[in-house]
Symmetry: C2
Subunit: 179 residues, 2 copies
DNA sequence: ACCCTAACTTGTCATTGACAAGATGGCATC
DNA sequence: GATGCCATCTTGTCAATGACAAGTTAGGGT
C-alpha cells in the first residue's frame, strides 16, 4: 500500500489530468475518474484544488508558465517565437486547451493572472525587435496567426496535405506575415 | 397550455442551446436545463437529437451552413472573407465554439461532413483570386490569422486597447498578411 | 508525551445523461 | 367517421458525477 499521505498527489493529479484532457478534452474530465487513475479516494482531488474549476485554474497557470519557458527559449526572434508557440500547443495540448477557455476556470486567480502576465510580456517581446510599423497591430497579427494555426491543428481541422510536422508547417505559414 | 405536440421544438431547442452556450460555454450546457428553458419535459431534447453529442452535431452543422452563408456574401474577396469569418464567429459565438471542438460531437455525421465541406470550399475560394504565390500556404495563413483572431477575441484574451469592434480590428490585422 | 494541522477517506445529496415505457394526438386509409 | 399508425412528447428510473460535511491518519513542532 502507498502511504496514507501521498505527499506528491497534487503534482500527480495535474499531470494525470493533463493526460486525460489531452485524450478527450476538458469537458470529459471527471474528478472521480481522475482520482481513480491516481489511485486515491474520490474526494482527494477536491482537497487540493477545491473543485473542478480550481484544478483547471492550476492547470492553466502551469500552462502559462510552460508557455513562458518555451517563448524564452526563442530569445526574441519572431519566427522562432511563433514556432515555439505552436510547439508548446502541440506538446502541451491539454494546458493549451484550458488556457484559452476562461469560462472553465477562475480567470481572476492571482497566481493565474501573474503567470499569464509573464507569458504575455514574452509574447510581446517576440515582436519588439521588429523595426518600424505599427507595433501593436503587428503583434496582434503575429499572435493571431500562430494561435489560429495551433488551434486549427489541434482541432484536426487542417487538410492532410499540410503534413505531419506542425512546427515545419507553422514556419512556412508565419513566413507569410510581413512578407 | 401549449399543445402536446410542440411542432417546432427542434428549432427552438437549437436556438435555445446556442443562447445557453454563448453564455457559459458548451461544457456548462445541460440537456435538462435546456428542456426547462424550452418548457418541455427533461427527455424531450433526447427525442430529437438522441443525446448531447447529437444536439451539438446539429448545432455544428447549422454553424457550418451559417459560415458558408457569411462567406458567400463576401463574394471571393480575401479581405472581406476574413472580416466575414470574424463577424460570423462573433455573431454566432456558440456555433463557432462547438464547430472546432470535434470531440464534443460526431464528426463523421454525414450532414455535418457535407456542411463542413461546403464551407471549406468557400473558404478556399476566398483565397483563390490571389495571383501567384504558393496558394495552399497562403490559404492556410489566411485561415490561421482570422481563426486565431476570432478565437482570441472570443476568449477575451486580447488587451482592451484593441477596441470594441472586432471586425474593424480584424481588417487591420488581416492587412498584415501578404503586405 | 502532546497536540495541531495538513493530507486523505468515507458518507451523503441534488443534479445530470441516458434509457425504457407510456401517453397523446394528428393523419392517412378504408 | 371509425380505425390504426406513428412521430412527438412525458413520466419514471438508474448509475455516475460534483460538491460538501464529517471523520481518520500521520508527521512535525513544542
Amino acid at each position: 500500500m502507498a502511504s496514507y499521505h501521498h505527499g506528491d498527489l497534487r503534482r500527480v493529479l495535474l499531470t494525470t489530468a493533463a493526460a486525460a484532457i489531452a485524450e478527450s478534452g476538458p469537458a470529459a474530465l471527471s474528478m472521480r475518474d481522475l482520482a481513480r487513475r491516481a489511485g486515491v479516494s474520490h474526494a482527494a482531488p477536491a482537497h487540493h484544488f477545491g473543485d473542478k474549476a480550481g484544478l483547471l485554474t492550476a492547470l492553466a497557470t502551469q500552462g502559462f508558465d510552460l508557455l513562458a519557458d518555451a517563448l524564452r527559449a526563442a530569445d526574441g526572434d519572431l519566427l522562432d517565437a511563433g514556432v515555439a508557440y505552436v510547439g508548446f500547443a502541440v506538446r502541451h495540448r491539454a494546458h493549451f486547451d484550458v488556457m484559452f477557455r476562461p469560462e472553465l476556470y477562475r480567470a481572476d486567480d492571482p497566481e493565474l493572472v501573474a503567470a499569464r502576465a509573464r507569458a504575455g510580456e514574452l509574447l510581446r517581446g517576440g515582436v519588439a525587435r521588429r523595426t518600424g510599423g505599427q507595433r501593436d497591430a503587428d503583434a496582434l497579427a503575429a499572435w493571431s496567426i500562430v494561435h489560429g494555426f495551433a488551434t486549427l491543428w489541434l482541432a484536426g481541422a487542417l487538410p492532410p496535405r499540410v503534413g505531419g510536422d506542425p512546427q515545419a508547417a507553422a514556419r512556412s505559414v508565419i513566413g507569410r506575415l510581413f512578407a
